[in-house]
């Protein structure tokens, strides 16, 4: 189904000669190393281990975390292993998706304390959580489940409505985990990542952002050529969609850059697998003019893994943060010197152009020892204007507020 391009095919043959020769159809190179040049064949880089056990509060890296002058960061909730994407219900419950551990959590405030409940489990990478009219939508690869009136039944959520058939999403697991969010018009948006590192694939089925009516009907393509976007939001005044995008692995420490995309028109094409900005990917099947494609609004750095991104619209933070974008960068694995592992602010000028990327929450990365203390995946502004940050590695959620 996914034919390898000539260049990638060559890399695959170099990596797996006996198999390629012994079988009729040469197997695809493992998805984690497709597009890896032979010069990197012996690189010891491999994805970091997830942690799925509870991290005790006194083992959290809270004391290492840094925020700008005037802000404070504290632990808001812990004991939610694998915590990733967040969505808030009308009554203030924060729903949290995960990947490996297969759970969805609901975190509510009770008597000044946070209570963490597991409301769904045994799901396959239920990364996507979104709330609309009090109903929680959970997306796990191709499964879409709706829990009606969820905040009234946290103790016993019961059987959800199963919308899987209506959405009819691809079943591929690699980059198949979803970020989901409702647009201001009430459509459910989600990413459909590319099912490999880099390969030939159907550009009308994968590497896209798509949207649906909440019942799974009326699929629309919102953006194309987007390798994997696991975070996006709508600009509070222009209503344009802004999305983070993860570049491919095994193109060296400095290439390609992970990017921030500003989608001005539905259906714009951002160039994967051919181009990232003006960089022509040598592993793509053909050379294309990168000027054919929409250009990213900003670089977020090589391999930094930018995920959750949300505009700040609250009044707790100084005016200078209003309508700027917070971006959680989960951090690199395919780079010798770690990069990312922070929350940054993308400054967006009056003309809608990005004027700078500033660090906001740092300290997860221990530069001297090239190790990390946590992995921020999502940011969520609460109604009081504070900002929550989920840390997948430690199963914790931090709250950033004014001092």
């Amino acid at each position: 189904m996914f034919r390898l391009s000539a260049t990638i095919g060559l890399a695959a043959v170099l990596a797996l000669p006996p198999l390629a020769l012994a079988q009729q159809a040469p197997p695809a190179a493992p998805s984690w190393q497709q597009g890896r040049p032979d010069s990197m064949a012996a690189s010891p880089l491999a994805p970091h281990a997830p942690r799925m056990t509870v991290t005790a509060p006194d083992r959290l890296p809270t004391s290492a975390l840094r925020v700008p002058e005037g802000f404070k960061v504290e632990v808001w909730a812990h004991g939610a292993p694998g915590a990733r994407m967040m969505a808030e219900g009308p009554n203030g419950t924060v729903f949290v998706g995960s990947r490996t551990i297969g759970r969805v959590y609901a975190i509510s405030e009770e008597g000044g304390q946070r209570r963490v409940r597991t409301i769904a489990q045994q799901l396959n990478q239920p990364n996507g959580v979104a709330v609309r009219d009090g109903n929680l939508y959970v997306t796990a690869i191709n499964r879409v489940l709706r829990y009606d009136g969820i905040e009234g039944k946290l103790e016993n959520p019961g059987e959800p409505a199963d919308l899987t058939a209506a959405f009819n999403l691809p079943t591929e697991e690699h980059h198949g985990w979803k970020f989901t969010a409702f647009s201001p018009e009430g459509r459910l948006f989600m990413n459909i990542g590319v099912p490999c590192n880099i390969c030939e694939f159907d550009r009308d089925r994968f590497a896209m952002i798509v949207s649906f009516r909440p019942d799974g009907s009326d699929r629309r393509v919102e953006a194309k050529g987007v390798r994997n976007s696991v975070g996006f939001d709508w600009h509070p005044t222009t209503r344009e969609l802004w999305a983070t995008n993860n570049g491919r692995d095994w193109a060296g420490n400095e290439m390609p850059h992970d990017t921030l995309l500003r989608i001005r028109r539905a259906g714009e094409d951002f160039g994967f697998p051919f181009c990232v900005g003006d960089w022509n990917d040598p592993a793509a099947s053909e050379r294309r003019q990168c000027s054919e494609f929409a250009q990213p609004a900003a670089s977020l750095g090589p391999h930094t893994a930018p995920l959750g991104a949300r505009f700040y619209t609250g009044s707790m933070f100084p005016e200078t943060y209003r309508n700027h974008l917070f971006v959680a960068r989960r951090g690199s694995w395919n780079r010798e010197q770690l990069s990312g592992y922070d929350v940054a602010v993308a400054r967006i000028g009056a003309d809608g152009n990005v004027t700078g990327i500033e660090p906001f929450l740092t300290g997860f990365r221990d530069e001297a020892n090239n190790r990390f203390l946590g992995r921020p995946v999502d940011v969520l502004q609460r109604r009081d204007g504070s900002l929550l940050v989920s840390d997948e590695q430690n199963g914790a959620i931090y709250r950033i507020s004014r001092q």
Binding site: A15, L16, P17, P18, L19, A22, Q23, A25, P26, P27, A28, P30, S31, W32, Q33, A41, A42, S43, P44, L45, A46, P47, H48, A49, P50, R51, M52, T53, V54, T55, A56, R59, P61, P81, T100, I101, G102, R103, Q121, Q122, E173, H174, W333, E336, L338, N369, N370, R371, F372, L373, G374, Q393, N394
Partner: protein, 196 residues
Amino acid sequence: MILRDAVVAAALAAAVAFPSAAQDAAQGAALAEARGCGSCHGAKGIAEQPPMPSLAGQPAEFVTLQMILFRERLRDAPPMPDLAQGLEDGQIEDLAAHFAALPPGPPPDRGEADAGRAGEGAALSQRMNCGVCHLPTYAGRAQIPRVAGQREEYLVHALTQYREGTRRGSDTNMNAVMYGVTDAQIAALAHYLAQR
């Protein structure tokens, strides 16, 4: 070689990150005793009969992750999902620390090496970069298991499951690695690794 080992060490340091709660191997040993893990996996973590895998010397993170996958019923491998019910995270980390601390070794009933098949397996492993993730000694690291000296029939079982997509693990790396690998190649890889 020395240079490469240094790079491996650097990558390891990155992955180790912030150690989680203090694991206690002695408590883990007592729990393993109480739960009878040794009756199947061997008194010292070296399994003496099929279909059990040896656990001695497995990286603690690997054992922890697998036990969580069993407990959450995300890895279907009877009888383990039932046996893992009710284990607290801390107990699982203690068990993992216990098995990680046991000296690894081959099972007592390991047969003689077949030079031909072992050679074929070695060549395949070289070309498929098994040692890049599992380390050149196949001792494993973090979430990546030790495969050196594991029971041969268990290695065949595990590799077949990854190929068939019936075992996924903490990520989909092994499914991608095993895509399209033949039964004969699996047998050669398992023989080679079991003899290490």
